[in-house]
Symmetry: C2
C-alpha cells in the first residue's frame, strides 16, 4: 500500500484521471472507495448559505453516518446552477453507486472550480465509468487530481497503535479566481462509530480548518469527509481518535496555509485576555482579516497601531487601556502604549507570530492562521474568470 | 467670504499653518472658530473601542451640545500614547481655549496620523499660538492642512433658504500606512438647537460616512463635527436641515471614495430583498469587504459567483435559491443561476453598480460605497511605517 495519503490505511482504494473538465488538461477527477468491513463516516460542510449542488447531495448522504465512496471533480464547482446542477450532482452520485453496487446515499460528491457553469456531464459520465475499474493504491494521484490553483498536492499520514489515518486536501478557503473551495478527505482503518468520528472531526475542524482564514471568504463547496473502514480490527479510544484526527487536520491545514495564493508570510494570530474562547476567536479573526494589518505583514512592518485599531472593532471584552501586543515574542505595545524598540522588531522571516492580550482577566484564548496580503494575491485574484 | 468650505457660512473663521508635525513639511495644523452668535454643535465619533486621546477630549466637550472651536493636527494621531497622550490632548485644548477666552470644554480636538508616537508638543504649542492671530477666511487652507495621504482636499457648500452649510473632510476609513482616520467638520450659519443638529448629523452619517467602506478598517480617531453659528438669523425646519447635512455629507463621502488609496474603481453595492435595513446593510458590507470580490472589480471581471459566495455568509434573511445579481443594471444571476451573457458584461468603466436581491419579500434595502482592491492599495499599505 501507499505510505501516504488516503490509501495508506487498510481498506481504501482510489483512482484519478483526466476527464477534460479543467481547461489545463491536468487530472481533474478522483474516486475514493471504502472497501470495509465497516463504512462509518462523518463530514463537515461550508457554513455558507449559498451551497453548491454536491454539498446538498453529500449532506443528505451523510445523514445515516455511512459513506462508502466519494467522487471528486476539479475545474467546475457545480454551484449556482439551479435545478440542473442538483440533477447533475445526483446523477453523478447515482452513476458511481450503480457501478459499485451501492445505494446512492452511500456516495459523497465533492466539486471545486468555477461557480455558475454547468458540469460537462458527458465528460463526468465517461470519467466515472473509467474511474471504477482503475481503483487501486492511487492516493497520491487522487490528491493531485483535486488541485485547482494549488501549487503542490497535500497529503498526510498519522500512525495509531495498530491503525492508521490518512488524508488529502486542496485549496484554502475561497482562494482563487472562482476556482474555490477547501476539500479534505480523511480515511482510517480504525473501527469507530459514526458518533466517535463526528466528535473527532468536529473537534479537530474547529481548531484547524475553521481557524484557517486567508481572506475571510467561505466557499459554497467546502467539505471535509472522514471515512473509517475498520480494516485494522483496532478500536481506538475517543481520545486516541481525537488526537490522530487533530494531527492530520493540522498537517493538512498547515500545508494549505503554506500554499495559499500569493503568500509570502505565514502569520499566526493568538488572542488572549478576554472572557471566553468565542470572543478570543472573534478578535483573532477580526485581526487576521484586516487588510491594513495584512499589508503591514507583507511589508515586514511591525506596525502595532494597526493591530490595536483592528482588535478595537472586535466583538470581545477588552480593557481599552490595557491591551498588549507581541510580535515574535517581543513586546511592542504594553497597556495600549508603544514599548521601547517596537519599531525595530525584525519581521523579515517567513513566519510571524502575533500575540494580543486584551487586558481582561478571563480564560478566553484562540489562535487563527492567516497570511499576508501581497501583490500576487491581487494579481492572481483579479485575473479574468472566463 | 470664501465660497467653499468651512468658512463659507457666516460666523466662522479658520487658519492653517505648517507646525512641522508632518515629515513632508506640508501644512499640518488648522483651527476653526465659531464666532456666533450661537454655539450649538453635534458630533459623531469612531465606534472603535480603542479611541485616541483627542476623541476622549472631544467626546467630553460635546456633552453640553456646545463647541466654539476645533483644533486639528495631521501627521500624528495621538492614539495609544497612554496617560501622556491624554494630557497632551487636554493641554492642546486648554491652550486654544485660553488664547480664545473660552472654556476648555468649548474646544474640540481632532488628530490624524501615525498611531503610537507622542505628539511633539513644542511644535503643537507654537502652532496653536500662531493659529489664533491668523484666523480669517481660510477654509481652503484648513482643508489642505488636515490631509494625510489624501491627494486632493475635500470641501463642500450647500445653500439653504437664506442660510449656508459648509464642510471639509479628509481620509476614508483607515486608509493609509498608519496615517489613518476620517475627519470631517461641517459648519452652518443656520440657527439650530443641539438636538436638531444631532438628529440631522446622525441621520446623514448613517447613510454616508458610516456606509463608506474601503477596507473594513475603522480608525481610532474618526470624528465628524457639525457647528452652527446662527449668524444667518434663519431657523430652518428639521427637514431642511436634514436635507442640507445629508447633501454635504454625501458630497464629502463621494470625494473620499474617489480619492481612496489605490482606487481604480468606485463600486456602489446595494442589497435588497431582505427583512430589514440592518440585514441589508450587513449583506452589503460583507460583499464590500470581500477581497475576492474587490479583486474581481479591479480586474473588471463580472464574476458573480464571488458575489453569491460572499453574501451567503451575511447575517441577513435570504432565499438561497432565489438570489439575483445585477452589474450596471444588467442581470448576471437570476434565481441563483447564471443569466445569459453574464460573463460578457462590460465593467471596464471607473464606476460599477452592483445590485443584489436576496429573494425575501421584505423592505430591507441598503447601499454601501466601496472601491476595488488594487496593486496600489497593497503597495501603499505595505510601505514601512517608520
Amino acid at each position: 500500500m501507499s505510505t501516504t495519503g488516503i490509501t495508506a490505511p487498510a481498506g481504501f482504494t482510489a483512482a484519478a484521471l483526466t476527464a477534460g473538465i479543467k481547461p489545463s488538461g491536468n487530472p481533474d477527477m478522483a474516486l475514493v472507495v471504502n472497501n470495509g468491513p465497516e463504512f462509518n463516516a462523518a463530514a463537515v460542510f461550508t457554513r455558507n448559505r449559498v451551497v453548491a449542488s454536491p454539498v446538498k447531495v453529500s449532506r443528505q448522504a451523510i445523514g445515516d453516518g455511512r459513506i462508502r465512496a466519494v467522487i471528486f471533480n476539479a475545474g467546475n464547482a457545480n454551484a449556482c446552477n439551479g435545478a440542473q446542477g442538483d440533477l447533475d450532482a445526483a446523477e453523478t452520485q447515482q452513476r458511481v453507486a450503480g457501478l459499485l453496487g451501492l445505494e446512492p446515499t452511500d456516495v459523497g460528491v465533492c466539486s471545486t472550480g468555477l461557480i455558475g457553469e454547468l458540469l460537462p456531464m458527458d465528460k463526468v459520465r465517461a470519467g466515472v465509468d473509467q474511474l471504477v475499474p482503475a481503483l487501486g493504491d492511487h492516493g497520491a494521484d487522487a490528491a493531485e487530481a483535486i488541485m485547482t490553483t494549488d501549487l503542490v498536492k497535500k497529503e498526510t499520514v498519522v500512525k495509531g497503535k495498530g491503525w492508521t489515518l490518512g488524508g488529502m486536501g486542496k485549496g484554502v478557503g475561497m482562494m482563487s479566481p472562482s476556482l474555490a473551495t477547501m476539500l479534505v478527505c480523511l480515511t482510517t482503518d480504525a473501527s469507530a462509530t459514526p458518533e466517535m468520528l463526528d466528535t473527532a472531526l468536529r473537534a479537530a475542524s474547529k481548531v484547524t480548518f475553521d481557524t484557517l482564514d486567508i481572506d475571510g471568504s467561505t466557499s459554497t463547496n467546502d467539505t471535509v469527509f472522514l471515512l473509517a473502514s475498520g480494516a485494522s480490527g483496532v478500536t481506538p479510544s475517543q481520545e486516541e481518535l481525537n488526537a490522530a484526527v487533530l494531527e492530520a487536520s493540522e498537517d493538512i491545514a498547515r500545508q494549505m496555509q503554506a500554499d495559499a495564493e500569493g503568500v509570502t508570510k505565514r502569520v499566526t494570530v493568538t488572542v488572549e485576555g478576554t472572557t471566553n474562547e468565542e470572543q478570543a476567536l472573534d478578535a483573532a479573526r477580526t485581526l487576521a482579516r484586516d487588510n491594513l494589518f495584512k499589508c503591514a505583514m507583507f511589508g515586514s512592518d511591525p506596525n502595532w497601531g494597526r493591530v490595536l485599531a483592528a482588535v478595537g472593532m472586535a466583538d470581545a471584552d477588552m480593557d481599552p487601556d490595557h491591551i498588549s501586543v507581541y510580535f515574535n515574542g517581543q513586546p511592542v505595545c504594553v497597556d495600549t502604549t508603544g514599548a521601547p524598540g517596537a519599531r525595530q522588531v525584525d519581521l523579515s522571516g517567513a513566519d510571524i507570530d502575533v500575540l494580543v492580550n486584551l487586558g481582561v482577566d478571563g480564560p478566553g484564548r484562540a489562535t487563527v492562521r492567516t497570511t499576508d496580503l501581497s501583490h500576487d494575491y491581487v494579481h492572481i485574484n483579479s485575473a479574468y474568470s472566463s
